[in-house]
């Protein structure tokens, strides 16, 4: 059974569709906020307010998933406000369809899409505070300056704090245009700031969705169909009903819900439930069949996305004609906090508390499900224990809204780890056929890539196909090298396995393939992989700087004994440019240790450099984990993996030393959450090839024998 999407593709594309370059976004305008007359609170726009005691409240409209939104967002506002950082307080914004612009935390957009409006919000308030001070003193504005939450009258040395000026500033008109600072004058942006969310996270006080409670709140665990697309045939809840704490059993659109007075009782009750399922049309689907399907699709006529020159002629004339096939598995986001949502549907309003990356979509979903107007739906975004794209989907929130409507009471739907792995949405698997030509002058003379993969967009928004190239070529079509003759095409191969955006989306698979195959061609041409990349990249490419920085810091070119090796890879996406060098040891028996990963990123102006380093380190661990051992597989229509025993993630003892270097830049910020992911797997596999001569063309690595002699 397909779930409804409650949003159309076009709305999504605005943020997520194009994987980086060339997004078309409406210009977001700051709307003056409503301030209460005479309250003494200054609220010049929706992003900030200043209380008479000087407290600066900043509304953060993007979700905190661990990526530091609740620190980077206030940094941008506070910089232009010249605020006292110690007086900053953040408030997660309630979902609103328009006043904050997009609230989706996806596509690495929090900083780069907030860069203009958030700085303008701060600068606007600062302008008004200066005007208020100048009027109070009867002096020219130009004789005033601001610093650390205080307006100074330079000639007389008089001062007024922002708190003291709040009431007067609130009465002033909001200026239409403001001037933003030069990067050289930054005091907060680009500087070291402690994350604002850390203290509560270390004390256990931080409230994640899973921790959120209301008095008398019922908890629901839902038995979902084990086979994809299955439905309930019959059920017997007699054993469940005898359990203490179980209140009710309710059939819901996607299974049977056990309602209890605690999480433990709900989970136990679900275990005792006997459900007969209609297996539906996917009862015989398994991973081997999907791989076979991809192979068959690969023989169809591909749709061209990029062509330069005559690839067929170049390949047949080549001194060396290299062919390779790559396999990329479906993988799971597996954030540490499983899905959950609290919904309280009343006759005239709905309130929701959800760890979501997509509060506006939750709001729209709840309005559609309940028939209430959008403004009657209040969505509170809690902290998320990771997200990685999974929480862009609103399936689990829809379950809570639907159930609260049925029960006429507030309810918290919780997913177990098994639910998360078995009933999730996954990074699409894919198959890639490549051909390359090398001439007798050690030059690459042709590049051909056929991508066979499911389209996320086609599955989520059927009938609303993107004009031009589909999502599944993102990161493959944009191969950054001057290869002369290029032919890139695709065959869309949709399957029943639910797919969605996972950290860097198609870039993770396509960069793995691009950067591995380029390495293959470098070997075939007898060229150094770094030198070849630098030769093939255009002079203006920002990947060059990242590559050179990573290579220099990693000691690229220094000799290593057999069984040890370095690999390099780079990729541009979401407005940033990343390069990694991985260094590995492989024993003759095939035991792999990743010793070190050196990362360089050109993300333009790094707003919160420590946050950038955290994201890059996290990206390395996340994608090493994926490359080394993660795969979601299907058997008889069911996901085989159930918990972390069969879907194990990278652990501390397997984690290499990670070094991060940020290219110095004052260009507008690029994304940071995702761009560190794509180059990791190819850098790792290129290092394995350098160490052993074994070329990995099938992920995860655990599917490969790395023994060498």
């Amino acid at each position: 059974m397909k779930r409804r999407m409650h949003i159309n593709r076009r709305e999504f594309l605005q943020v997520l569709g194009a994987g980086g370059a060339g997004l078309t976004l409406g210009v977001f305008r700051l709307a003056p906020a409503q301030t209460q007359e005479g309250s003494g609170v200054f609220k010049p726009n929706e992003f900030l307010s200043i209380d008479p005691d000087g407290t600066v409240t900043i509304w953060v409209a993007r979700s905190e998933l661990g990526q530091g939104a609740r620190t980077a967002v206030p940094m941008m506002v506070a910089e232009e406000l010249d605020a006292d950082w110690e007086k900053i307080r953040i408030m997660p914004a309630l979902a609103h369809p328009s006043k904050y612009g997009s609230m989706q935390t996806g596509g690495s957009t929090t900083v780069r899409r907030g860069w203009e409006p958030l700085r303008k919000a701060g600068a606007t308030a600062r302008e008004m505070l200066i005007t208020a001070a100048a009027q109070t003193w009867g002096v020219e504005r130009a004789t005033c300056r601001t610093e650390n939450g205080i307006v100074y009258h330079i000639p007389s040395g008089r001062t007024l704090t922002y708190g003291e000026l709040a009431g007067a500033a609130a009465a002033l008109p909001v200026p239409a245009e403001v001037k933003l600072k030069d990067a050289k004058d930054y005091k907060i942006i680009g500087k070291q700031k402690a994350r604002l969310d850390t203290p509560d996270k270390l004390s256990g006080k931080a409230l994640f969705g899973f921790d959120f409670m209301l008095p008398g709140l019922a908890v629901a665990a839902i038995a979902h169909p084990p086979v994809l697309g299955g439905t309930v045939k019959s059920w017997d809840g007699s054993a469940t009903k005898q359990l203490k704490g179980v209140k009710e059993i309710v059939q819901v659109p996607h299974g049977i819900a056990v309602i209890a007075d605690s999480v433990w009782a709900a989970l136990q009750g679900r275990d005792q439930l006997k459900v007969e399922w209609h297996k539906g049309e996917n009862a015989n689907l398994d991973s081997a069949a999907i791989e076979q399907y991809f192979l068959e699709k690969s023989r169809e006529q591909g749709a061209l996305v990029r062509t330069e020159g005559d690839a067929a002629a170049a390949l047949s004339a080549a001194a060396k004609h290299i062919t390779a096939q790559y396999h990329v598995p479906f993988i799971s986001h597996s954030p540490m906090e499983p899905m959950n949502c609290v919904a309280d549907v009343q006759s005239d309003r709905v309130e929701i508390w959800a760890p979501t990356q997509n509060p506006q979509w939750v709001q729209r979903m709840a309005a559609e499900v309940t028939g209430l107007a959008l403004e009657k739906v209040f969505v509170n975004t809690t902290l998320s224990g990771g997200g990685f794209g999974r929480r862009l989907m609103v399936d689990y929130a829809e379950e809570a809204v639907d159930l609260s409507m049925r029960l006429k009471a507030p309810v918290k739907v919780i997913w177990s780890r098994e639910d998360d792995l078995q009933h999730g949405y996954f990074r699409p698997g894919s198959y890639h056929a490549l051909e390359g030509a090398v001439d007798d002058q050690h030059r690459i003379t042709a590049w051909k890539h056929r991508i066979v993969a499911p389209s996320i967009s086609a599955q989520l928004f059927p009938g609303q196909e993107r004009r031009g190239n589909p999502d599944l070529v993102d990161g493959a079509a944009q191969v950054p090298y001057r290869l002369g003759i290029i032919a890139i095409d695709y065959v869309m191969a949709n399957t029943a396995l639910p797919v969605t955006w996972l950290r860097s989306v198609y870039n993770s698979a396509n960069a793995f393939v691009n950067e591995s195959f380029l390495d293959e061609l470098a070997h075939a041409a007898g060229r150094d992989p770094l030198a070849l990349r630098l030769e093939l990249l255009p002079a203006e490419s920002r990947l060059r700087g990242a590559l050179q920085l990573a290579a220099e810091k990693a000691g690229w070119g220094e000799a290593l004994p057999r069984g040890r090796g370095r690999g390099i890879a780079c990729h541009a996406c979401f407005g940033s440019y990343a390069a990694h060098v991985a260094e590995v040891t492989v024993t003759p028996e095939g035991r792999l240790s990743v010793n070190r990963v050196v990362c360089a990123i050109d993300c333009g102006q790094a707003v919160h450099p420590e946050g950038v380093r955290q994201q890059m380190e996290g990206a390395v661990v996340f994608s090493l984990s994926g490359a080394m051992r993660e795969a979601i597989t299907l058997q008889n229509g069911s996901v085989v993996q159930q918990n972390f025993d069969t879907y194990d993630l990278l652990r501390i003892h397997e984690t290499p030393a990670i070094e991060v270097y940020i290219v110095d830049s004052t260009l507008a910020p690029g994304g940071v959450g995702e761009p560190g992911v794509p180059p990791v797997a190819p850098a790792l596999c290129n290092a394995i090839c350098a160490a052993t001569g074994i070329r990995v063309r099938r992920l995860p690595l655990s599917a490969n024998d790395l023994a060498w002699s």
């Binding site: 905190e64 998933l65 661990g66 990526q67 530091g68 402690a194 994350r195 969310d197 850390t198 203290p199 996270k201 270390l202 004390s203 256990g204 006080k205 931080a206 409230l207 994640f208 899973f210 921790d211 409670m213 203490k244 605690s262 999480v263 433990w264 989970l267 597996s334 954030p335 540490m336 906090e337 499983p338 902290l383 998320s384 224990g385 990771g386 997200g387 990685f388 177990s416 780890r417 420590e610 955290q614 380190e617 996290g618 990206a619 390395v620 661990v621 996340f622 918990n643 972390f644 025993d645 194990d648 993630l649 990278l650 652990r651 501390i652 003892h653 984690t655 030393a657 990670i658």
Partner: protein, 156 residues
């Protein structure tokens, strides 16, 4: 239903729950101590790690019966100790990202430092490999444990 005596963060608590109820849910749902997290329910991810008589245990697979009459320490107990060296080190190294697994990481680190005040990298890896972090904070966890060990030892 049977009644059990729990000593949680040095406070005596009487709880009336079924004998096989995992300590995790007693802490979270009976006592309202939500700092201890659910991640897998099978003792595989370590998000629910607490100390039982000073040793790291997985609260999701430990029955309340087996935890009774023993000293239990949760993240709320660590926090109650002013300027706990682990919390200071975690702050200074900016370890946390999403933060969900960090209580389990910190409790595991506490057990390690109880047993080995100055652990090597290898000992850290051995002691901490049971606690998953999807955000990838492992390199900072290593640094923070070394830092806490130095602090405990008088800033050597």
């Amino acid at each position: 239903m049977p009644t059990y005596t729990l000593f949680v963060n040095q406070k005596k608590q009487l709880v009336e729950v079924e004998a096989d109820t995992p300590l995790l849910w007693v802490l979270r749902e009976t006592l309202g101590l939500t700092g201890t997290k659910y991640g897998c329910g099978q003792g595989l991810c370590g998000s629910c790690t607490v100390l039982l008589d000073g040793e790291a245990v997985r609260a999701c697979t430990l029955s309340v019966e087996d935890a009774a009459d023993k000293q239990i320490t949760t993240i709320e107990g660590i926090t109650a100790e002013k300027e706990h060296p682990l919390l200071q080190a975690w702050l200074e190294e900016e370890v946390s990202q999403c933060g969900y697994c960090q209580p389990g990481q910190i409790l595991s680190a506490a057990a390690l430092l109880n047993a080995k005040p100055h652990p090597t990298d290898q000992e850290i890896d051995d002691a901490m490999s049971g606690v998953l972090c999807r955000c990838g904070t492992y390199p900072r966890i290593r640094k923070a444990i070394h830092r806490a060990a130095q602090r405990k030892g008088g800033g050597r």
